[in-house]
Assembly symmetry: C2
Homo-oligomer: 595 residues x 2
């Protein structure tokens, strides 16, 4: 089924779902029944979910069919669900925790998914409906009879909540929040009382799949907006560039964007959060734009264009070089998931999912002219340095990168062009350290699970190999997930950039603050200690010089090993990537009220 | 100053404080000034705080005088502050985190402190006041302009919040929440914008110390209540017992309770959460009461008493043997921090802090009769077992225990009488696993810091030695705090009970659920990997049999070592302490609606 047809099917299904909600209360006795747990799992299967993350707790659900990945703690489990959702696309992440003590530990990761628009279902096993009504002083409560506290917390950081209290409402509520998760690309929250998991409800509703697209735009307004945009493109006399940002991927527009690029041939650039949303080997791709931190040649081409068509912009501080875009609104069109901006005019409820394909058709007539605009391919060279110390300037151009931690790694990787079909994931807006290792247990798992699925496995050139870059400081927050990786026999390569502390904090708030130094660990025995007791599943290395690094990266055994490998990279305490230095300077100015 | 005088001083100081609040806005230019950061630190000094816990973040405060303990993550830091507060008494715990990504990770630990009534100050470094007002799309935000989300979360799990937005309100707000933390014995929340930390305010207010006691009771009602209680004690014809629970310690009544015990000589029992609130070597101490799980001889003496004077009761499920108290209200008087129950009558606002000393005076006349009631001393024997496997029945009677993890350890330790002046801390109501290792970095620190302070150091027989019991499952949640311990050169003994998974969950929800099995770790290389690179600061052991365990515990070098020591204790997967078996059975019945 094509994109358009799939979307229209969604429109047909929508009223059908509502009908089912009403009918659920009157189902006849002879129809097929299913437990509420299984109902959820069936829906998740339909959404291509193959793994669920979590920590066992005394109120947990059982999960017979989809693979259960037990993480070491709930924060890490929720990070894993976030990562699963980002990497897999067309699906959602799922994390299961327990009432209070479990779910609250996941709070930070769920807030991060909200901030960065990642669809995650957070299922919380709660006490029985009788206990929820009578409110005894149970363990895991605050002891003051307020049983709704945790839900109030969830309301702050999720897009929708379903508090299941009886079986009649269960199916409709589950469906409602799943649709919200997909359409809004945000986390949602579901509480499941322990006595209801095995209660049986009608399975009939499952026959209609959940809609995955937002409702269509008002056709009159939409066609008016398209006319306006086409007019502006004409006025721009070919000099149009496209800027792709995070929401293009989060709202599942990769295919539509690619279609636009191919049919129009306009030059395309990406933001840091949009990195790899467009293939970086694509001949019309010109590099990354981050306001005043942008490389001068790229900056000039973006900022001097007559018209900028921005898709899915998310203008956070670190994504825009501390709000230093030099692009006047009168030269800008912004397509968003739920509105469109044409210069200064806002069109509420005109969303890009329906608008973009129509726009592409209208803009394809500009192809010939557009294809004549030159787009120099940006290439990052390894600089010649006089010493053998491993510097950021030397390290990053040598990497094909997939996962980068918030912090120093994120800035290092920004300038690195990536091979085609690489998936780059990082957390730039919310910026919680520890995120990469936490979610990493998932990223690798994903590759492992999908080896039988050509369409997805082929997306990764390196035979499903996941590479994680993290700092020593960040790694310490979520280190126990190494255990989940060995337990599940994954084979990522983990680079730990050891610079003895929180490098990004040093550059933001004072190079020699003592509290940014951290305890040094014996990094090379981490893998064996945390699970690989016999030392057969893992291999660890320390590299201290450019020559040692180069030798390892060129070693065929290293590149093709079917083991987890950890590489401790010794770096200078104060060395730092270019993009971080520039961002830190701007952040300090902003904090001092100078920006 | 005696207790009474100290409390009266508080009453004198209260209106003085209010006066200062008003005067703050009109301070003259020649008076002493102090930065807001230093104001907070001075107040904390006055509250005997010697260490502050946290993780560096880009909005953090500086802390020049009080010792900064950098934890590996915020959950662990907040657990450490919780533990510090519990063990130190007459003080509070302090944790510093950063806006959003930091503070949310601490949520679970703060909720635990709320649930278990532990005073903790949570200081959050937030963006500048200008940024808070203009609401740009900053990193660490949810990207939707809602800058008050994190405060709304904090409102759910803290007793008071202070959102500092200008220097005029700062001192009064800081004082207000500190007083709330102490009086309510709950966590409180303070946000400090980065541009205000170095702003200067008047230091004058610091000359008046903060009140530490609640306001006095209404004298008429109080004297009526005392008369009622004395009448009931007379009617009970000597047959009165005292039952001490958690809130007696949390609301700082250890001294008053001790006075009551000595002057009346009534037999005294404790609940699990009240364990060690009364010396377990005290000759009139009869043991632990947990409803139907109580040892039969103790159960009979408690439940058959004519009158039970309960102090600071906190009737949670695990603290009451799943709500199986067999004590009729007509035989009960309950003293609480903010009300009193005399049989079925409730007296709101009559709190025990002021009532108890007066009641003690009135009840002292019963001493002679009371002292004739026999109190058999409860002693736990090591059972004779035919095999050499280390069982819970064998293990626990051999320990002098200080810190026990939620989970199996908590139940194991319940029946163990403790040496005089031991401090036992555990988390029974909230029950979040991982808590012990997280907070442990603190408990040891405390002993280390206070070696110069005889009154506190002497409370611990073992020369300040802290012993931590934890399970393999629990330990994995917060394991990185090992690093904080080695980094700060602490010397606890850590027993890891290795039974290959979540034992308590097995007993609550099915012995053979696969998700309760966890990855095995090389426990004996944990200390060297996570910080003791040269292997000089730590020592690790594995014990597999009763004889190996006994040999180690009798080894003088082990007992007196000035190193961190980790002992991996290999136990049977299904072996379990008596109290846990009984609780698990009752919990399962409650969940099934049979209780």
């Amino acid at each position: 089924m094509g994109t358009e047809a799939r979307k229209l099917q969604g429109e047909v299904d929508r009223p059908q779902q509502e009908l089912q909600t009403l009918k659920a209360q009157y189902h006849s006795e002879d129809e097929e029944l299913i437990t509420i747990s299984d109902y959820i799992l069936k829906r998740l299967e339909q959404l291509n979910v193959t793994s669920i993350f979590g920590v066992p707790g005394d109120f947990n659900m059982h999960h017979p069919t989809i693979q259960w990945i037990g993480n070491c703690n709930e924060l890490n489990a929720a990070y894993a669900a976030d990562g699963y959702s980002r990497v897999k696309e067309h699906s959602i992440g799922v994390v299961v925790t327990t009432f209070g003590v479990g779910e609250l530990s996941a709070t930070n990761a769920i807030a991060g998914a909200f901030s960065e628009m990642v669809p995650v279902l957070h299922i919380v096993g709660v006490p029985s409906t009788t206990q929820l009504k009578n409110k005894p002083m149970l363990h895991h409560t605050l002891g003051d009879g307020r049983f709704n506290v945790y839900t109030k917390v969830a309301e702050q950081i999720t897009a929708a909540q379903a508090i299941i209290m009886n079986k009649a409402q269960a199916a409709a509520e589950i469906d409602r929040i799943l649709v919200e998760a997909i359409i809004q690309a945000r986390p949602v929250y579901l509480t499941l009382p322990m006595d209801l998991t095995t209660e049986k409800i009608s399975a009939k509703r499952l026959k209609i799949e959940l809609p995955r697209t937002p409702p269509p735009n008002n056709p009159d307004v939409e066609s008016y907006v398209i006319d306006e945009i086409v007019k502006l493109v004409e006025d721009a006399k070919r000099d149009v560039i496209i800027l792709v940002d995070a929401c293009a991927v989060r709202h599942d527009l990769r295919e539509e964007v690619n279609d636009l690029l191919v049919k129009t041939q306009f030059p395309v650039y990406a933001t840091p959060m949009g990195k790899t949303s467009v293939s970086e080997e694509y001949e019309r791709y010109g590099g990354i734009y981050i306001g005043s931190i942008t490389h001068p040649s790229i900056k000039e081409r973006v900022e001097n264009a007559n018209l900028i068509l921005s898709i899915g912009a998310l203008k956070s501080d670190f994504n825009t070089g501390m709000f230093t875009y030099h692009i006047p609104a009168r030269h800008t069109i912004e397509l968003h998931s739920d509105h469109t901006l044409v210069r200064h005019a806002k069109f509420p409820d005109i969303g890009m999912k329906w608008l973009l394909p129509k726009l592409t058709e209208r803009l394809s007539k500009f192809q010939e002219g557009a294809s004549r605009i030159p787009v120099p391919h940006y290439k990052l060279d390894i600089p010649k340095e006089s010493d053998d110390k491993i510097s950021h300037a030397h390290f990053w151009p040598r990497q094909d990168v997939i996962v980068a931690e918030t912090g120093t790694s994120n800035f290092g990787v920004m300038d690195v062009p990536m091979p085609d079909q690489c998936i780059f994931v990082s957390q730039i807006l919310y910026g919680s350290i520890g995120w990469a290792t936490g979610k990493h247990s998932q990223v690798s798992l994903l590759n492992l699970h999908l080896t039988g699925n050509d369409s997805i496995a082929a997306r990764d050139r390196h035979l499903g190999r996941t590479i994680l870059f993290t700092g020593d400081g960040s790694m310490q927050l979520t280190v126990q997930e190494i255990s989940t990786m060995t337990h599940n026999k994954l084979t990522p390569i983990i680079f730990v950039l050891n610079n003895k502390g929180y490098n990004i904090e040093r550059h933001l708030h004072g190079l020699d603050r003592k509290y940014n130094d951290i305890a040094d660990w014996k990094w090379t025995s981490l893998l064996t200690t945390l699970g690989d007791i016999e030392g057969k599943l893992t291999q660890s290395y320390t590299v201290r010089s450019k020559s040692e690094l180069d030798k390892l990266l060129d070693d065929e055994d290293f590149v093709s090993a079917r083991k987890i490998q950890l590489v401790e990279v010794i770096m200078d305490k104060y060395d730092t990537p270019r993009a971080l230095q520039a961002s830190a300077a701007l952040t300090a100015q902003a904090a001092a009220g100078q920006l």
